[in-house]
Amino acid sequence: MTQDYEVEFVERGEREARILVRGITPAFANGIRRAMVADVPTFSIDTVRVIENTSVMFNEQIGLRLGLVPLTTDLDDFEIGDEVTLSLSVDGPSTAYSSDLVSSDPMVEAADDNIPIIDLKEGQRLEVEADAVLDTGREHAKHQGGVAVGYRHLQQVEVVGDLGEFEDDDPNILRGVIEEQAAEHAAGDATNGELVATDEFDNDLRNRYPGKDVEVSDVPNAFVFHVETDGSFTTEELVLRAVETLRDRATELKDAVQL
């Protein structure tokens, strides 16, 4: 049994991407999605040693906020359980930002510079030392690298006729990505086979196929993944690592069965 997948990028960015995969079963697609959310590890602050906290918030509240700061994670160099120490020292009056976190390892630092941790007034001071640990989203949601990860069927639109001249002009809202199959009826430039995100025509099929009666259907075994990361790593890294965790588990089960 050989499987051939076809992968195509609909949208591609460091932190957000839409990826079309053809020839994939729903079971495998959902396995990849779940693995992206729960099984790809990222660094997150887990232990905080408070040296001075004269801010208006309790140590625990500061600890929670620090835990939620995404940290860049290079999965080639670390494994689950590894720790990296960061420190933060800010004097009021000013705001402590994620960029004030100083890491002992340049590979692990705040993914965003502008996350406010707490606003400090005159005379207030926050100094902490924190240990970030590499773990998975299964353990705690702060370790999730993938945020807003999901998929939809690729869809195709068939023009089945004209709308009657006096028919109600109701919106025909569609979300996701369509594969153009009726370019001759489409408004503007269109070629058959091109992938069109529905927000390009404001999610309303009336704008794409003016005056036409259309029917929408799913393309079998073709899924469009929407992948967004918290900045710990790129979308590509997230997808590949998720597939790798599935592969690792299959290998582990195979070895266990062979014994």
């Binding site: 995969v21 079971a27 590949l240 599935l246 592969r247 195979k254 266990a256 069965v257």
Partner: protein
Amino acid sequence: MDLRVIDKSDTELSIEIAGEDHTFMNVIKGALLETEGVTAATYDVNPEQSGGQTDPVLTIKTEEGVDALEALEDGTDAVIEKADSFTDAFEAAA
């Protein structure tokens, strides 16, 4: 990954796979259903709070002459192949 065989005959296998959840179980089940010689494959898992059997139990039935344990091994091979093939296709597109 700890395995515990619950029931085993030539063409039937019930096996507990500790520490796994829907993420992997549904993938392996899907792969088993596409595997030659497998007539039925399913898994059952209970929520953490149920307090009972919370590790998934995979059940496989195979055609006469096909060993269920070997079928499971073929299933894992299929998952590995899927993963490799997906990685190749993804890297080619990236």
